[in-house]
Amino acid sequence: MMDLPPLALYIHVPWCVRKCPYCDFNSHGVGRDTELPETRYIDALLADLDQDHHAVQGREIVSIFIGGGTPSLLSASAYQRLLDGLRQRLIFARDIEITLEANPGTVEQTRFEGYRRSGINRLSIGVQSFAAGQLEALGRIHSGGEAKRAVRSAREAGFDNVNLDLMHGLPGQTLAAALGDIEQALALEPTHLSWYQLTLEPNTEFFSHPPPLPDEERLWDIQDAGHDLLESADFSRYEISAYARPGRQAHHNLNYWRFGDYLGIGAGAHGKLSSIDPAGRWRIERRWKTRQPEAYLRRMNDPRGFVAGGQTVERRALPLEFLMNALRLTDGVDVEDWENHTGQPLSELTPRLEAARRQGLLTTSPSRLQATPQGLLFLNDLLALFDEEA
């Protein structure tokens, strides 16, 4: 009998100081001076986990990611209590990665030290850009200088594993400006860089009032030159938008991309959980929690629990669901991962893999599911071949 996939934990913190115009995450701007219901929220997160606990099935937790919103709005003592509570309920893997997302405008040295003491061992800092004009256009609440200070504080507080989120293709951005952002980021010596192109998502301010974005040729130049710059600084691209120093890939994200399982707790958090019944039949379920922070808190004493909805991933949807993640990795995944993480035989995929290989979008390696360089550039076209109705 096959084993269940590795299990990670995602924790959502739904508040931020101010909602950014490009952001379509479940985040709610509350200003700088609002006192957040920290204690109640941590209680709710632990209760939420208790309700999902049956899905753990004896697995240890390989990684934890605390995302938002702006998780760094909550105090170190709040996270101390949260992580203590998690340790009582879950078995942490020996090398567990615990990441917290931080906004440079919300942290100071002492807070970072407290985060580190609580067991958080990786920070993901939302820098986005160092250019004052861009930060303003993006609605960020911090300056480039603050971002730099935040990274140095984090390091002094004992964080040796730091990711920076950096955007490109910003309104009116030149090639030089985009490369300047990368150079400043590299100077801070992070271990990981999420370098992604600004995309206008539905239900955002930018979507309804689009800013003037660089044209396709300039975007291409930025991507081309930026990629070379990062690679020359010994940052290897291992996913469409993720670059890491050797051995510093994000475990938590790798688990998503390899179609691992994850619990999702907190307002609007999504989880993906597999189970195998005694007859050996696999079931993969997605479930999500109540989105509105206040409504989420009220679910604490509600017999319905925190879950807002759920859905079993149908067998015919599995190829797309799996590959939409796996093929984002530049090395792809081992073909065995398909069977190990979906419970389905490879033959389910074969005809469509052949079609993708014929179009030069997938490598011909028999042991890997891996997009070619062309396939990575046209991943949407590649994935269309695996659409359930294709």
Binding site: Y10, D24, F65, G67, Y196, Q197, L198, T199, E201, E216, E217, L219, W220, Q223, E239, I240, S241, N253, Y256, W257, Y262, G264, A269, H270, G271, K272, R286, W288, L320, E321, M324, N325, R328, Q359, Q374, L376, L377, F378, L379, N380, D381, L383, A384, D387, E389
Partner: protein
């Protein structure tokens, strides 16, 4: 009840149609008349009740004939039965108009008092006059400040030759003078003639297939009386049926159990196939089967042809079934299987015009949920071979080897265009561009009437839309087929990345081939979305490239940011992309959208 006294009742019946240009207010007037006669309560009176197909209502046009029977209590104290038979108002459907008129003794010619007479109405009006109908001019839209009824009345007299000085002046919108109009209708339109005791002779004006009732036929009784339970015979097939339901529309279906000479209504007789009750057929009783057939209608011939192909080849069977069902209600629809190298299996479908084509495509997609690709429409060509054989083709890719062709002939139409004087220059140059030959030009009222001979191919494409746009919407058009004429025609092939795409081939006049080829490849460049690789579009004649353009490759197509746990966002994005490809067909490696197949229709945009 069929006694002598019953024939007396004929004088209280009026059968009429309304002839009007599309937006001159026919439907609103019909609604108003129905409302005035109490055919529907206020609550039931949806806007424009007679246009019952969704598509008809959306496009504000009538496609099929419909009828409604109303009771009108006139000022003379008598109650009249008014049978109103609706007629389509678009040039594509003029055949249906003459059918509707056949059931009537009179027609209201409704003219917009602000806009004046338009060509289609003139043509329909002449049809009515030829069929000996009493035509009653009506000036509508009197509520508009720019209404100029005296001028328009004068125009009617000048263009149509109809006395119009005392034409009723109404506003269907406000209800002004509807009472007067109905009085005039009863006074001037003659009652039907007929013998209710005579042998049954009923003409099928229209038949349609209803999922619950089978074939429903709209009939006009000329002689005799028909009751529920009667045994009837179709003169064309000689088959016998039993009437299971009979009555009229109010516009609700109202089963009266009987129809008498002079009346218009529906008959249902358990017929499952529309061919069992063909339009134009005569119904009589089985016991009087020697009654002569009424002169029926000429079978309508399609004017334009296009290939229709399911986007997904899995839909072919469904598509064939859908066409069969659609043809049940549309005798003008003509189709044969077609196999395209580029598009796979589909059908070559004949239509009355391009509007008809659009409507059929929309109905197939909406009512039968099939995604279709339609090729550019083409007319029939006659090809005279060296061996004397005459071949008719409706598909450019089926053109025989030119080495053996002695002559190509194209259909010519006679087109009548009415247009205000200030736009005449525009219209003339448009006609010249389309190889038109002027036959006549004269001033009629405040308008000019231009008569041209034009190649049908030039007219059926986008001529009507083009006329509208160069005359601020005022020009109107009517046309009819005249003959086939020899012409210097060539086939323009389109190559996508070096491969000839049969479904994109066109037959075109040699003098236009280079310029149109250029415009066409440029238009296709706009319409074919950028893909993973460069796409070369070439126009060729006999293997020689006359124009080319390139759709530059996209740099990339990938979602930048991965959204961790919430996969629904990513899936939505991919679904959006998929929806964009819904109407695309993969030809070789290239995705070609529906719009590109119809690019030839859009070159003037």
């Amino acid at each position: 009840m069929a006694d002598a006294a019953s024939n007396e009742q004929l004088k209280f019946i009026r059968n009429f149609s309304i002839i009007a240009h599309i937006d001159h207010g026919k439907s609103t007037l019909a609604d108003r008349i129905i409302q005035f006669c109490g055919g529907l309560t206020e609550r039931e009176l949806k806007e424009q009740v007679l246009d019952s197909m969704d598509l008809e209502r959306e496009r504000g046009i009538t496609i099929k004939a419909q009828s409604v029977t109303l009771d009108y209590r006139a000022q003379d104290g008598n109650t009249y039965q008014l049978n109103f038979i609706d007629t389509p108002g678009h040039v594509d459907f003029s055949y249906e108009v003459s059918r509707s008129l056949y059931a009537c003794e009179g027609a209201l010619l409704v003219v917009d008092a602000a806009q004046g007479v338009e060509a289609q109405s003139v043509a329909n009006c002449y049809t009515a006059i030829e069929q000996n109908l009493e035509v009653l001019p009506v000036l509508n839209k009197m509520d508009l400040p720019q209404a100029d009824p005296d001028k328009v009345a004068h125009e009617i007299e000048e263009i149509i030759g109809l006395e119009a000085q005392d034409a009723v002046r109404v506003s269907a919108k406000s209800g002004l003078n509807i009472d007067l109009l109905l009085e005039r209708l009863v006074r001037d339109i003659p009652p039907p003639k007929g013998d209710r005791e005579g042998h049954l002779q009923a003409l099928i004006i229209d038949s349609w297939f209803d999922n619950y009732q089978g074939v429903v036929s709209l009939v006009r009784l000329f002689d005799g009386t028909l009751k529920k339970g009667d045994k009837i015979q179709m003169k064309s097939t000689g088959r016998d049926w039993e009437v299971t339901d009979i009555g009229y529309f109010t516009p609700k279906q109202n089963s009266t159990g009987i129809l008498r000479a002079g009346e218009v209504g529906f008959v249902i007789a358990g017929i499952k196939d529309i061919q069992g009750a063909p339009v134009g057929d005569t119904i009589t009783h089985t016991k009087t089967k020697d009654v002569p057939r009424l002169p029926g209608f000429q079978k309508v011939k399609p004017q334009v042809y296009a290939g229709m192909f399911p986007v997904s080849s899995d839909d072919y069977e469904d598509f064939r079934d859908a066409l069969e069902k659609l043809a049940l209600n549309d005798a003008s629809l003509d189709y044969v299987p077609e196999n395209s190298d580029a598009l796979g299996f589909g059908f070559r479908v004949g239509f009355l015009g391009t509007l008809h084509m659009e409507i059929v495509q929309e109905r197939l997609e909406r009512e039968y949920d099939i995604d279709l690709l339609t090729t550019a429409p083409t007319v029939n060509y006659e090809i005279l071979m060296d061996n004397g054989e005459l071949v008719t083709i409706s598909n450019p890719s089926k053109l025989p080897d030119m080495a053996n062709v002695s002559e190509m002939r194209e259909p010519i139409v006679r087109a009548t265009i009415l247009v205000p004087q200030e736009y005449v220059g525009n219209v003339i140059s448009e006609c010249v561009n389309r190889r038109g030959v002027q036959l006549d030009m004269q001033v009629l009222g405040s308008q000019m009437q231009l008569v041209y001979e034009l190649p049908m191919a030039e007219v059926v494409m986008d001529f009507f839309d083009r006329l509208k746009s160069i005359s601020k919407g005022y020009a109107s058009l009517d046309y009819s087929f005249e003959r086939f004429d020899a012409a210097k025609l060539v086939r323009l092939d389109i190559l996508i990345n070096g491969d000839r795409v049969d479904a994109l081939a066109l037959i075109i006049h040699r003098d236009h081939a280079h310029s149109r080829g250029r415009i066409l490849v440029d238009k296709m460049k706009e319409l074919i979305p950028r893909q993973m690789f460069d796409v070369a579009v070439q126009a060729t004649i006999g293997g020689h490239v006359v124009a080319r353009s390139t759709v530059k490759a996209l740099r990339k197509n990938v979602t930048a940011k991965c959204y961790g746990g919430d996969t629904t966002r990513k899936k939505k994005l991919l679904e959006k992309q998929k929806a964009g490809k819904k109407r695309m067909k993969q030809v070789g490696r290239v995705e070609i959208p529906q719009d590109a197949f119809l690019a030839v229709l859009k070159v003037n945009e």
